[in-house]
């Protein structure tokens, strides 16, 4: 067991080394764009308020009635914060493909050495999955740190009387994106991560199918992906199918979705293990 864990840690540390430059870039871009958003968005509001007060000769209260008070939600809704999140999600999605295909790139394919290692082949699978998740959670952690500091910056730029009094957590709670990707609501956060994990397991399975059976494998993989999506969303359409929106309680629909996603995840793991151990040729 100890040896198993050690080799898994070695592989994970190795994969983390390979992703680190890409991850540092994502983290850097996130921090830089966020910082611009924390300064530019409130400055623009303050500038607009001042200009309105000077040109229209009105009080700050009248200007607030015109433009509304400023909240941190205004910052979190700006492109400066949304763009890095989108970049991070799409970047890691692409890296999830790259993390496998890079092994077969070039003349002397690295996959040959990797698959010949005297460790269970599923450890390669797990190490790649762990690294993707370490990258996801690192981005989340850095985004949280950034938001916490950003909240202080915004509070310092905008006069207290012009602020709505909304706290950081309240601003995140009503944000359609941050309430899902950050651990603001445990339900949404766990749901998003559960869906994300199942998606990653299916994606890795599709990649391994393609690696095992080439074009035929790609077709099987796409079909497998489509079938898993249909199975996962099937409970949501049950009320429509049975022509009764009250036949199943919402908690039962949710429980069914969780069970089906677990089945999809476990099935994907078993297929991947079979492919890695028996089908993938070097």
């Amino acid at each position: 067991m100890k040896q198993y864990m050690k080799s898994l840690l070695n592989l994970t540390a190795f994969e983390l080394d390979r992703i680190s430059k890409f991850l540092y870039t994502l983290l850097g871009v996130t921090l830089l764009l966020n910082l611009i958003g924390y300064i530019y968005t409130p400055m623009r509001y303050v500038g607009r308020m001042n200009e309105y007060m000077q040109t229209e000769l009105v009080t700050a209260q009248q200007a607030i009635e015109r433009f509304g008070s400023f909240s941190f939600y205004d910052v979190t809704s700006a492109l400066w914060l949304l763009a890095p999140v989108t970049l991070g999600i799409s970047g890691l999605l692409l890296y999830s493909l790259f993390i496998w295909y890079r092994e077969w790139m070039g003349k002397n394919t690295f996959a040959y050495r990797l698959l010949m290692l005297p460790v269970p082949r599923m450890q390669i699978f797990y190490s790649k999955l762990f690294v993707i998740y370490i990258a996801i959670f690192s981005l989340i952690a850095v985004q949280i740190i950034s938001l916490t500091i950003g909240f202080q910056i915004v509070s310092a730029i905008v006069p207290d009387d012009w602020l709505s009094g909304m706290t950081l957590v309240q601003a995140l709670n009503i944000h359609p994106l941050f309430t899902v990707i950050l651990p603001v609501s445990s339900f949404y956060f766990l749901s998003a991560n559960g869906i994300g994990l199942t998606f990653m397991l299916v994606l890795f399975t599709v990649i391994l199918l393609e690696r095992s059976y080439s074009f035929k494998g790609l077709g099987i993989g796409i079909a497998y992906g489509v079938i898993t999506v249909l199975i996962a969303v099937f409970p949501a359409f049950l009320p429509n199918l049975v022509q009764n929106y009250y036949l199943f309680y919402d908690s039962e629909i949710m429980a069914l979705i969780i069970v089906l996603m677990t089945v999809i995840g476990v099935t994907s793991l078993l297929i991947s293990r079979h492919l890695l151990n028996k089908k993938i040729t070097i």
């Binding site: 840690l9 070695n10 994970t12 540390a13 983390l16 080394d17 680190s20 008070s69 909240s71 939600y73 370490i134 959670f137 690192s138 989340i140 952690a141 850095v142 949280i144 740190i145 916490t148 709505s164 009094g165 909304m166 706290t167 950081l168 957590v169 309240q170 601003a171 709670n173 009503i174 950050l182 651990p183 603001v184 339900f187 022509q243 009764n244 929106y245 009250y246 036949l247 199943f248 309680y249 919402d250 908690s251 949710m254 429980a255």
Partner: protein, 405 residues
């Protein structure tokens, strides 16, 4: 160790940040304000039968909003429930109680107040097929009826075809075993909207029902409203005929005046007209075998009992109302009914108003009148305990019912 340093650093970053954020959330999460019943007159215990779902929200921030329920004389916030309990929660006090107490019976059944009638021993469910499949088709004439015995938890179900009109919507049902009287709003052959009353007998169930009466035709009125029924056990159903008033620039009628009140006797199938008072507005409420008529003079209401035998009024006395309009303003969500804020349950009139204090704060206000003594058993309102220091939080009532049982 060096080769793991990056791995350990990233994992530590994630674990420490997420943990710290969790602690930060707990520390900064505002405790939800306490709500209290402020008694102006009488005893707050009179509100034990009141069940409502409400919401508190900040006028300064849309992010601060919490839903609570008032039940058995106490408050509880819904935020504290588990996700799975929350998913099954119905924002309708009656249906929510049924889902909680009779989960199996409620499976597959619509969850509007008008779909249920309850007695001490039984619950009767009445719904059109479109109430559960959400398809409003012209020929939706199939009525589902279920009779549920609370003790044995046995259920009898029937599927009945309604004739005489199409596109039915259940408005109310009244149960006097073994007969069930169903009031629907439906369209006639010319697609004119009308009110229809059907009767179903559980001892002699039929597959097809013809309307006992077309209310609009019987009352010779194109615009009719029905009294909101909190119990569904009354013998006399009050109807109000309306006279269209002025039209707006688009030709839509914007206001109506009361033309006449009638009560429909479920047992005889006849209507009786209740005369309007010359001074003030007329109020008509009913419960079981009793029809109560009020002369609304604003600050006071003179209460009478309608004698159905000789069609006369017997005066009970008058009650001073805590506001000139409490109970008499429409509550928007039952727009086809009147008496939305004035409910007669167990000989008590419950009057509700979304009242505003002198400072401009909304506060749900209730007055409970005992019709035996014609006195106020309770008057008061719901308010934040710490209103002095919380001037940006408002209370709003979504929906309320008085549990007659």
């Amino acid at each position: 160790m060096t080769k793991y340093s990056k791995l350990i650093s990233f994992v530590l970053l994630c674990v420490l940040t997420l943990s710290a954020f969790g602690i930060y959330q707990i520390q900064t999460s505002a405790t939800l304000p306490e709500i209290e019943v402020v008694t102006e007159e009488g005893n707050a215990d009179e509100l034990d039968a009141l069940y409502f779902i409400g919401n508190i929200y900040s006028t300064q921030s849309s992010g601060r909003s919490s839903t609570f329920e008032f039940k058995d004389g106490g408050f509880s916030y819904l935020n504290n429930r588990s996700v799975f309990r929350h998913l099954d929660y119905v924002y309708n006090p009656v249906a929510n109680r049924y889902v909680s107490d009779y989960r199996s019976f409620m499976r597959g059944k619509a969850r509007n107040i008008s779909n249920f009638t309850e007695t001490d021993d039984e619950i009767v469910y009445t719904a059109m097929a479109s109430d559960v499949n959400w398809r409003r088709m012209y020929d939706d004439n199939m009525l589902d009826i279920s009779l549920f015995d609370k003790d044995s938890e046995e259920e009898q179900s029937y599927e009945v075809r309604l004739e005489g009109a199409s596109y039915h919507g259940i408005v109310a049902s009244y149960y006097h075993a073994p007969e069930l009287t169903i009031v629907t709003q439906a369209a006639d052959e010319q697609m004119r909207n009308g009110w229809y009353i059907y009767t179903f007998n559980f001892d002699e169930p039929e597959d097809t029902l013809s309307p006992e009466v077309n209310v609009g035709q019987a009352l010779d009125s194109s615009s009719v409203q029905i009294s909101f029924s909190p119990t569904g056990t009354e013998r006399y159903i009050p109807f109000k005929s309306l006279q269209p008033g002025a039209e707006d620039e688009y030709g839509e009628i914007t206001d109506y005046t009361t033309d006449a009140f009638h009560v429909y006797d479920i047992q005889t199938g006849d209507f009786q007209e209740i005369p309007l008072f010359e001074e003030g507005e007329t109020l008509v409420l009913s419960e079981d075998e009793q029809v109560v008529v009020g002369q609304d003079l604003g600050e006071t209401i003179n209460w009478h009992v309608w004698n159905v035998t000789d069609e006369s009024l017997n005066e009970l006395g008058s009650t001073d109302m805590i506001t000139p309009s409490i109970g008499r303003l429409p509550v928007y969500y039952y727009n086809h009914s009147f008496n939305q804020g004035l409910q007669l349950v167990n000989g008590h009139v419950y009057a509700y108003e979304d009242h505003y204090s002198e400072d401009g704060y909304g506060r749900p206000m209730f007055q409970v009148i005992d019709l035996d003594s014609v006195s106020t058993d309770f008057s008061g309102y719901f308010e934040l305990e710490d209103r002095e220091n919380d001037r940006s939080t408002e209370i709003m009532l979504f929906d309320f019912m008085i549990n007659p049982l």
